[in-house]
């Protein structure tokens, strides 16, 4: 029970209901796990939903190969802690098989390539539902997302043909080859997630807290030093005191200047923040409808 934050009880109850509904309605599910705070909370809620039994589905990490090392260490510890199974699928394998072509240039990222690896995994493992940690407050196109989001046999999202969702009644019926993406945290905000992490005492990767890191300032974004980032002639790495607000592929996840060294300071910072967390994501800045386009193609 969350004594001063009764709304977290309601959000938790709703998410648990959705997770149980997934287990009841689908045959083969995976929970998409990136090592970011949202997928951590989603998997933690799955632990709660089925306790004392094990989570009846695996966590699946689509690994771009461009990870923060801390995330991988965290991932393996976390999977043990919540007694879950882990499946890892590598974008590198998709590249080696010629399924996708590596982007080139200064803003090259494997973020988009993940979609192909994910869709291949869905087909190979015959998944009929993938649970994600996405929230409606993240981005405009997500505001209309359903809890149970239908995808056709090509993995595509059609915003004009989403099933109406009424009351607590979720329609997961589908034809062979189609699948669903399910978002139990739909109604949570960034601040809700942080408050919940605090009240439940959930461990998170260290890079969410302040640390010294070499970054390059590219168009106002602080990108972490990595072997995957190609610097322009005019650019150079400098040391900054930063933390990450989201965790994704290293090449497109920007750091924010921050001295927040514990959860209370992070919450204070998020509450006072004047920029959305996706404002630190280079992938969303490509065009006004960038997220909408990626979702239609089968992105997370």
């Amino acid at each position: 029970m969350h004594s001063n934050t009764h709304h977290l009880d309601e959000l938790e109850s709703e998410a648990i209901y959705i997770l149980r509904e997934v287990a009841a309605q689908f045959e083969k599910t995976a929970l998409l796990f990136s090592g970011g705070k949202d997928s951590i909370v989603a998997s933690y809620l799955a632990r709660k939903a089925f306790w004392p039994a094990k989570i009846p589905f695996a966590l699946m990490h689509i690994d771009t190969g461009h990870n923060f090392e801390e995330t991988l260490v965290y991932r393996d510890e976390w999977v043990k802690k919540i007694d879950a199974r882990l499946i890892v699928k590598y974008v590198q394998d998709s590249i080696d098989k010629g399924r996708v072509k590596e982007e080139t240039g200064y803003n090259a990222s494997r973020n988009l390539l993940q979609t192909v690896t994910l869709l291949d995994a869905i087909e190979e493992l015959k998944l009929d539902a993938c649970i994600g940690g996405a929230r409606r407050d993240e981005e405009k196109a997500r505001a209309k997302e359903r809890f149970f989001s239908h995808r056709d046999e090509f993995g595509q999202w059609n915003p004009k043909n989403q099933r109406p969702e009424l009351w607590d009644l979720f329609n997961g019926k589908k034809n062979i080859g189609e699948h669903f993406r399910v978002f139990p945290l739909s109604n949570w905000t960034e601040l809700d997630v942080w408050q919940y992490i605090k009240e439940e005492n959930i461990p998170i990767p260290s890079i969410y807290y302040t640390h010294q890191r070499e970054c390059v300032n590219r168009d106002g974004q602080l990108l972490a030093k990595s072997p995957y980032l190609k610097l322009k002639d005019t650019e150079k790495y400098e040391k900054y005191t930063v933390r990450f607000r989201t965790i994704g592929d290293m090449t497109c996840t920007g750091a924010v200047l921050s001295e927040a060294s514990n959860i209370d300071e992070v919450i204070e910072e998020v509450a006072a923040s004047r920029v959305t967390e996706r404002g630190t994501r280079a992938d969303d800045k490509r065009s006004e409808a960038a997220m909408e386009d990626r979702k239609k193609a089968g992105y997370f």
């Binding site: 029970m1 004594s3 001063n4 934050t5 009764h6 709304h7 009880d9 309601e10 959000l11 938790e12 109850s13 709703e14 648990i16 209901y17 149980r20 509904e21 287990a23 009841a24 632990r47 709660k48 939903a49 089925f50 306790w51 004392p52 039994a53 094990k54 409606r136 407050d137 405009k140 196109a141 505001a143 209309k144 915003p159 004009k160 989403q162 099933r163 109406p164 969702e165 009424l166 009351w167 607590d168 009644l169 979720f170 329609n171 019926k173 589908k174 034809n175 739909s186 109604n187 905000t189 601040l191 809700d192 923040s273 004047r274 920029v275 959305t276 404002g279 006004e288 409808a289 909408e292």
Partner: protein
């Protein structure tokens, strides 16, 4: 107003969740009001604000168009309309709010029904210059049909009628006369200017004659907990938890969300459809056992006796049972372009039960502008509302929708496309 203020919680109550939806015609300023609520509660971030400022300038608009905040999809931005239900979030120190933003055109009755199905409260926008319109009536009727107990009527654009009290009072009287025929518990009226923020978050200096609360104050304080049915105990079994682990060898938990009444440890309960009775041995959660569970809580129930229970069954009290029937009358709102066909079979989802049904008869349709029955046209098409009879393949355990929204609602699913085609409210 007294009935209303009586229901306002005392200050310092716990911070809960309020879900509301907004209804208004295209130009009533609904999107502007939502933009205003988000902006004034500091729920808009700088990058979002910069983005809509940029878009407003590109469209050649003088002011920053707050309505652009809620127009999510590209097609909508191009056409300047909202085509689906979008959800928005903001919070204050007292509450967290979830807004279902629904478009107001007549062809979007389906979206209004969808957006309002999970809401506790409706905000209905009225343009002070036009007064009560056909749309206002329709929105109110749908609100009443879907069982929303609290309505706040925002009389918007008061600046354009010289902030006159008479205009506001005239609209209030007209609305009260119209809505007295409906089942709505609480109606409150607020004169506002969404564009400038008058009476939205801060009290307006332009309307000193208005002694009531601001919109945000009402939203923060209105009491909705008692809207749940706390009397009739209903626990639809959602999922069976069997750990198959040595330390929990005999553990068999019935997971689900309480749909009505209060479950207590030690209570005698009856399982439907079997009719066996037993006692609640424990109510379990990951955080430890609890003494009682109230509506909306997801819990796991352990029983004293080992009886055969599966998903779709319902735990109730022997002396307070739901109806258990196969012939059911309901109001249906049609959500699909393929019209309802009498004699057709549809799949059903009701609580945690799956069933099939055949539509036996359409009794009448409802004129959604006047609430009059239409007896001579019984074709239920997209956005139509009508009364139908169905027969299900197995008995459903249900209550009248007015008595319990959770056990009184169902959806109809087209068996060829798997689309959700009908929203049913059991009579």
């Amino acid at each position: 107003m007294s009935e209303f203020t009586d229901k306002i919680e005392s200050a310092g109550a716990t911070r809960g969740l309020l879900r509301f939806f907004t209804a208004g015609s295209v130009d009533d300023g609904k999107s502007t009001l939502i933009g205003r609520l988000l902006y004034d509660t500091k729920s808009i971030y700088e990058d979002q604000y910069e983005a809509i400022k940029h878009s407003s300038e590109q469209r050649g608009e003088e002011q920053v168009n707050l309505a652009l905040l809620t127009d999510g999809l590209r097609a909508e931005r191009e056409q300047g309309i909202t085509i689906d239900v979008a959800y928005r979030y903001f919070s204050t120190p007292r509450r967290k709010f979830i807004i279902a933003d629904t478009p107001g055109h007549i062809q979007y009755t389906r979206n209004m029904v969808t957006g309002s199905s999970t809401a506790n409260l409706a905000i209905i926008m009225v343009d002070a210059r036009n007064g009560i319109s056909e749309q206002t009536c329709r929105h109110t009727l749908i609100t009443s049909l879907i069982g929303i107990r609290h309505i706040i009527v925002c009389v918007n654009k008061m600046d354009l009628v010289g902030y006159k009290e008479e205009v506001f009072e005239r609209i209030r009287a007209e609305y009260e006369k119209f809505s007295s025929k409906l089942e709505v518990v609480d109606v409150q009226f607020i004169p506002i200017v969404a564009l400038n923020g008058d009476n939205v978050v801060d009290k307006s200096k332009n309307m000193p004659w208005y002694g009531g609360s601001t919109l945000l104050y009402l939203l923060e304080n209105i009491h909705v907990a008692s809207d749940e049915n706390l009397i009739d105990c209903r626990f639809p079994v959602q999922y069976i938890i069997r750990p198959q682990l040595t330390e929990y060898h005999d553990y068999r938990g019935y997971a689900g969300k309480v749909a009505g009444g209060i479950l207590k440890k030690g209570d005698t309960i009856m399982a439907l459809p079997s009719g066996f009775t037993t006692k609640i041995k424990a109510i379990d959660t990951f955080d430890g056992p609890i003494e009682e569970a109230t509506p909306g809580m997801s819990v796991t129930v352990l029983l004293e006796d080992d009886i055969d229970i599966s998903r779709g069954d319902m735990l109730v009290r022997a002396n307070n049972q739901p109806k258990v029937e196969q012939d059911i009358d309901l109001m249906v709102c049609w959500l699909n372009e393929k019209k309802l066909i009498v004699g057709n079979k549809y799949a059903i989802k009701h609580t945690t039960q799956d069933a099939r049904c055949v539509v036996k008869e359409v009794h009448y349709k409802i004129n959604i502008n006047t609430l009059h029955r239409i007896e001579d046209d019984k074709e239920i098409k997209l956005n139509d509302v009508g009364r139908i009879s169905i027969r299900t393949t197995k008995p459903l355990f249900f209550d009248n929708y007015r008595k319990n929204r959770r056990t009184g609602s169902l959806i109809l699913i087209d068996e060829t496309t798997n689309e959700t085609v009908g929203a049913g409210m059991i009579l």
